[in-house]
Symmetry: C2
Subunit: 395 residues, 2 copies
């Protein structure tokens, strides 16, 4: 008798997500039970009121005389046009509105792309440390993850190791630039080399290896740097974006897949992506968010202020004795744990109501992660705690 209540495949997928689910469950409870002075650096989540103009944009599009305003909605042409125009301004590209497929933020876009191209037995290369949802999402297609470690010295892609990891079953690689949690923007030289490797391997295999480019942080860039989209270097690419970081509204799910106008197999891919969005439960963004997208595209969190936070924290943490680099982009500081057991150190901080994420959970053992989306008041309160904790650890 095999009366397990749940499927074997969902048990397998749950296994890949279990440590994160447990961590979030436990730490969300700790945060909720902590006092009003708690400092929450765990995730890229808002700790302050939504940015100015956000609620107004929602309100403005909440009513219309148009009978179709809240009818079944796939990708609305005006939302596609707004996204394409903005992306072209950022990247200097020529995306057309019809190249943009609206999705329920980045994870729904990633899930749709993977389902469109992967079969059971396929392999998908992911760069370690990866986002914790990459492996569960790709496993849902029957594919398996093949990890390639980033270069430890400069956090760049290790293109030689990627080349060595590719097999006849490799169907895709997921690249995340700017990278969570290192903040690394992969340089053009690396992306050129990656494209050469993927092109050669696709030819060798007689089967295209797709590049899935998770660009959630492509507008959260510091020091006037230029963001290089990996998709510009390789035609069989999906550019996957979410507005959840730029607007710091991760509970309002909207983002897109941008297909290069010259992507091979374009019509087949659009058909398969559409079916994927259907079978994931109609994973297009809500009508309201699509109506509002032209307005939302004009908004952003205060990136210069985020950069000031980065500088302040990097400086203060270094002064206190921590080792860390100053990230080029994204939301996170990746800090060397003063003791080898980063999980233990994170728990010591949590006892003082300063909540961070252990690097061992992120495939970055020996580190812990701080999100810069914490408020300035949280940073004020936390810096002395960080200083005390490293002092205690050294004694």
């Amino acid at each position: 008798m095999n009366d397990r209540p749940v499927s074997e495949q969902s048990t397998r997928i749950a296994g890949a997500a279990r440590r994160f689910v447990e961590f979030f469950g436990e730490f969300q409870d700790l945060v909720d039970r902590a006092g009003p002075d708690r400092c929450d650096f765990i995730a890229g989540n808002p700790q302050e009121r939504a940015i100015a103009g956000y609620g107004e944009a929602l309100r403005r599009h909440s009513e219309s005389d148009d009978p179709t305003w809240f009818a079944y909605t796939m990708s609305l042409p005006k939302a596609q046009a707004a996204a394409a125009a903005s992306l072209n301004t950022l990247l200097g590209t020529d995306y057309r509105p019809e190249d943009i497929l609206l999705t329920n933020a980045a994870m729904a876009g990633l899930a749709a792309c993977l389902r469109a191209v992967c079969d059971p037995g396929d392999e998908v290369v992911i760069v370690s440390p990866p986002h914790f949802l990459y492996e569960p999402i790709l496993m849902a297609t029957g594919a398996s993850a093949v990890r390639v470690r980033m270069r430890e010295d400069d956090f760049d892609l290790d293109v030689e190791a990627i080349e060595a990891a590719i097999t006849a079953r490799t169907r895709a690689i997921i690249v995340n630039s700017p990278h969570n949690p290192t903040g690394r923007i992969y340089p053009a030289s690396t992306l050129t080399a990656l494209a050469q490797v993927l092109t050669a391997a696709s030819e060798r295999n007689g089967r295209t290896i797709y590049l899935l480019s998770d660009e959630a942080y492509n507008r959260i860039v510091f020091d006037g740097r230029r963001f290089e989209s990996p998709t510009l270097f390789y035609a069989p690419s999906f550019l996957i974006y979410t507005y959840g970081k730029t607007l710091l509204t991760p509970g309002q799910r909207i983002g897109y897949i941008a297909l290069r106008p010259d992507i091979p197999g374009r019509e087949d891919l659009i058909g398969a992506l559409t079916v994927s969005q259907v079978v994931h439960g109609w994973s297009w963004p809500n009508a309201l968010l699509q109506h509002a997208l032209g307005d939302l595209e004009r908004l952003s969190i205060d990136v210069p202020h985020l950069q000031e936070r980065r500088d302040r924290m990097v400086s203060a943490l270094r002064s206190a004795g921590y080792e860390l680099h100053s990230p080029e982009a994204a939301f996170y500081l990746l800090v060397r744990s003063p003791i080898e057991d980063d999980d233990k150190f994170v728990r010591l901080l949590a006892e003082r109501e300063v909540f961070t994420m252990p690097g061992s959970l992120l495939e970055a053992p020996g580190y812990f992660r701080i999100s810069l989306t914490a408020s300035d008041a949280m940073i004020d309160r936390a810096l002395p705690v960080f200083a005390q904790a490293i002092a205690d650890a050294s004694t």
Copy 2:
């Protein structure tokens, strides 16, 4: 060389959806190109301004001083509480807030349930005519659909045929009451018999057969009838609901899965459903819709007016010579086509800018479907066209 751009599994799933995708593609174009007097009876889609109070509810919850207002959102407790209270009023049940899992409407709920319980090789019984998305969604789990025809005389479930269709690999049955397109509410006697069959077959198989109850139309009920939820008769049941019909806002995705408090394997199921929602791309409803749910629960389309539309159209169509039954519930009239080729008849109507759905597409050959969500003005204009079309067909 096998350089197909898309996966074999997505090609297979697309095959199951192809006729619908083609129909909607072609007919949406026809509707868009038609004049302002077009009459759109194709889908359960709004043809008039959103109901009073809907936009106001969205606006009211578009801003808050709460920093977590638009943070990562799974099921918000206040939304769970609002849904549970409303469901208990409808059904006389004792659902607790924690028994409600919010989803991006019914299709996301159905997809999550199927992924949570089905493995490749499993079979899922669906009742023909089924919703056209059931088969593509269940195929995405690796399962296959087994069709059981409804009883043709009264549109009730054919419980004997369901019993005969069950095999050792049967994992679930999807039941839709009130049923699209017949409007049938399955009676308690049928549901009792169904539960007995499912219980016996689960014991015989040593593996639970789940009942997935699609109750999208459970509040769109006519003539003061009582809706019987199939889930009240069988513990291993998922009740799946969407607000998209009751509020007639199918582009605003919110609904839920309700788990009976006594469902066997409850904790394992909740874990698997959570992972399923994650891997479908975070398929929880947007924060805004969850914040607004308490207000939205107080709203509904005008069901008595829908019933008047039903009566008016049934009477007028019968007077014109059409054969049809008066539905107990839901949005649709299922009308016998005056000529055998229902697709041809639907195209004749479409030439006169009256747009309906052919029964052959719906697994109801010889019929065509009319959605009562059309406006009264559309009905005024369409009735003479329907009358002329059957007169022409008889000559």
